[in-house]
């Protein structure tokens, strides 16, 4: 079963592990500054009223990212539905 999806496909209340970040260098850099690199665990929390951006929980912080960026971030979906903070 293929669990490798892009971050924008991560269902709400589910977690994933970042495998690859294919954004432009500046964005990659900014995301890394927040602690998001391959290997980090990320959890989808909520979507804005117009469906984009989505807020994610990682490293005990909540950060909103646009789909434009999240579709370039690849993750491995973790099969678990219980709410646990990454």
């Amino acid at each position: 079963m293929n669990n490798n999806i892009t971050l924008d496909k991560l269902p709400l209340n589910c977690s994933g592990i970042i495998t690859n970040i294919r954004c432009d260098d500046i964005t990659k850099r900014r995301i890394a500054d927040l602690g998001l690199i391959p290997g980090s665990k990320i959890h989808a929390i909520m979507k804005s009223p117009f469906n984009d951006p989505t807020a994610f929980n990682f490293k005990k912080t909540v950060i909103a990212l646009r789909q434009e960026d999240t579709k370039n971030i690849y993750i491995n979906l973790i099969k678990e539905n219980n709410y646990e903070n990454p």
């Binding site: 500046i26 850099r29 900014r30 500054d33 117009f50 984009d52 909103a64 990212l65």
Partner: protein, 635 residues
């Protein structure tokens, strides 16, 4: 990777600590961790604080004394890192590298310690004299997070103190540690990281190092530590309620302002009338030429007191309410809710935050645009900021709405309808912000979206007393002071305009007559347009100037009595459509002089400043002509 666990920092005792010395202390840290709160608590200054990322946009300085030593504190803008190239990171990096500071305090958010540590490692590569200040311990405790301060200090080889910035007494340890480090009582030898690799690998190393260290010193006891935040966010950003709640907040703030300001305004105006008669008697007593008396009383005094009576009450209500939302942490949620709209307009979602700041003061809003990283999106936000009516324009909008819209209803319905009308005008402003951003993005400011990264901080319990004093003293009095300093000379100018005659007509009438044909096309009249032009230094004085021009003798009519005002306006030809066009033009005209100067400073370009002047003016003129045309076709 090695984390040394050997000796702490060495302590030596210096002998000459009675001498008076000057030391410089820098405060660095992630955004929104309480740097400015600590700065304010130590120096007694009143830097702007609030629960969102990017309030401090330039270095602020203040001083405090301890043990006969003078400490100059420098509040550096908050950054996540020192390697990206945004403005605030450059400011922070330049300052730290300049080595001006004897010691650097890095403030950390105890609830997000791990993320905060990346910056610590980066700063430690620039300077050794670093004190860590783990702040927001109370919030961490609530979330079941425990941090072993001693272990953190041992692992890094630098002094670490814990604080709750809101409570001043918890800062004592911080102050004595600053003193000890500056006076070389404590000599810090941190364990330097030995990464000499490329940038990307470096940040990954920092992240791993922080993770390991965090596991070592932190313990988490609650799994669902932020369930409260999630629950509130589920409502405030939900599909069903997110946008309606935002509009409701907007309506509520305006309604409270309208209803609450009415009575104190009347009271102030009565008081100034009362004081005015005494002043008049006094002036009569010390026999001075009549024209000077007239200039003083009918020119300066009337304009001044009118501005105070009309401005002060709404501001004293609006600002605390707005600060309350800001302190709670609602602003980033607005940005989160509206980002899609701004995305479609090819601009940054953070523009929603600068837009909100524009409600307070457009100059502040323009300054706040520094939180937007992409230069193109920043420029969009700056150029469109004045589409949001600032506090100098609210009283005018509210008065006109009350006089010409609310009058058709009675009782509480009247204030409610006036409020709805003001909200409609504001929504027009927001719509135009988006529309113009889109048009500019497709024409002269072409470009694609840059990435949008927005932190949604935990909600914080607002400090009510501080909100009241801060918003009243800092914002209200500051803006009122500015208005007053402009109102006095403007009072003189309008008096001279009205009292110097060329032939049969005063200069004011000449100007008004000259502008009148054009103003009529816009559904206004020459006097209104003259007032807007003379009101360039501050929007607050536009309405007083209009009233003053109308009053037969050339000075301001008596009192803020609502009914009298309406009579005066109606007798000068005001109808509903005049009121509507005046409100539209109030929303859409050139920014005030302060805002223009700020735009010039921020864009460093005369061209863009001029464009920022032209853009809303052209919009305003076009829309006024359009509504006037439609109205005349129908009626």
């Amino acid at each position: 990777m090695k984390i040394h666990n050997s000796i702490l920092f060495h302590s030596t005792i210096s002998s000459n600590n009675k001498q008076k010395n000057n030391y410089t202390v820098a405060i660095a840290g992630n955004p929104n961790v309480g740097k400015s709160t600590i700065f304010n608590a130590l120096t007694g200054a009143r830097q702007h604080t609030g629960n969102w990322t990017g309030k401090t946009v330039s270095n602020a300085t203040g001083t405090f004394f301890y043990n006969n030593n003078k400490f100059v504190l420098v509040d550096i803008p908050g950054t996540y890192s020192l390697t990206s190239n945004s403005d605030e990171e450059q400011i922070a990096k330049n300052y730290l590298e300049s080595n001006k500071a004897d010691v650097t305090i890095i403030v950390l958010d105890a609830t997000t310690l791990e993320r905060n540590l990346y910056l610590v490692f980066q700063i430690l590569e620039i300077t050794s004299n670093v004190i860590l200040c783990v702040n927001l311990l109370d919030e961490a405790e609530k979330k079941g997070i425990k941090i072993n301060i001693n272990k953190l200090s041992e692992s890094l080889g630098i002094p670490v103190v814990s604080t709750i910035a809101k409570k001043k007494k918890t800062l004592k340890k911080l102050v004595s540690t600053i003193n000890d480090v500056c006076t070389k009582k404590i000599i810090i030898t941190p364990f330097k990281s030995d990464f000499r690799n490329t940038e990307t690998v470096k940040i990954e190393n920092y992240i791993f190092k922080a993770e390991t260290l965090c596991k070592d010193v932190c313990s988490f006891n609650k799994l669902n530590y932020d369930s409260f935040n999630r629950k509130v966010d589920k409502v405030l950003t939900s599909k069903k309620f997110g946008i309606p709640i935002m509009l409701l907040f907007l309506c509520l703030i305006f309604w409270l302002t309208i209803v609450g300001a009415n009575y104190p305004s009347q009271l102030l105006s009565n008081f100034f009338d009362f004081l005015g008669t005494y002043l008049q008697n006094f002036l009569n007593y010390i026999s001075i030429p009549n024209w000077i008396k007239d200039l003083l009383m009918n020119g300066i005094y009337k304009t001044l007191t009118w501005v105070i009576a009309v401005m002060l009450p709404p501001m004293a209500i609006f600002f605390p309410l707005f600060t309350l939302l800001e302190d709670l942490g609602y602003l980033p949620r607005i940005s989160f809710n509206l980002d899609k709209c701004f995305h479609k307009a090819c601009s940054s979602g953070k523009q929603a935050i600068t837009m909100c700041m524009g409600f307070g003061c457009n100059a502040v809003g323009v300054c706040g645009c520094r939180i937007i990283n992409s230069p193109r999106e920043k420029l969009l936000a700056i150029l469109t900021n004045s589409f949001i009516p600032c506090n100098g324009r609210f009283p005018f909008l509210i008065s006109v709405a009350t006089l010409f819209v609310g009058c058709y209803f009675s009782g509480i319905g009247s204030s409610f309808v006036s409020c709805l009308f003001v909200v409609l005008i504001v929504l027009l402003g927001i719509f135009l912000t988006l529309f113009i951003s889109k048009v500019l993005s497709k024409t002269i400011l072409k470009g694609t979206n840059s990435s949008f990264i927005l932190e949604l901080p935990s909600y914080r319990k607002p400090q009510l007393v501080q909100i009241l004093t801060r918003s009243f003293l800092d914002r209200t009095i500051f803006i009122l002071g500015r208005a007053i300093s402009v109102a006095a000379p403007a009072g003189i100018v309008i008096w001279l305009f009205a009292n110097i005659y060329i032939g049969d007509l005063s200069i004011l009438t000449y100007t008004a007559n000259f502008l009148n044909p054009f103003a009529q096309i816009m559904g206004l009249d020459g006097y209104i347009l003259t007032a807007f032009i003379l009101g360039l230094p501050a929007n607050e004085i536009v309405f007083p100037l209009i009233l003053m021009s109308y009053a037969s003798k050339g000075y301001l009519v008596d009192s803020t009595d609502i009914l009298n005002l309406k009579e005066l306006l109606v007798s000068n030809g005001w109808t509903f459509i005049t009121a509507l066009n005046v409100m539209i033009f109030t929303l859409l005209h050139f920014p005030c002089a302060t805002t223009l100067l700020t735009i010039k400073k921020e864009t460093k370009s005369k061209k863009w400043t001029f464009f920022a002047f032209l853009l809303p003016t052209v919009c305003g003129i076009t829309i006024c002509i359009f509504t006037n045309l439609i109205w005349n076709l129908i009626f």
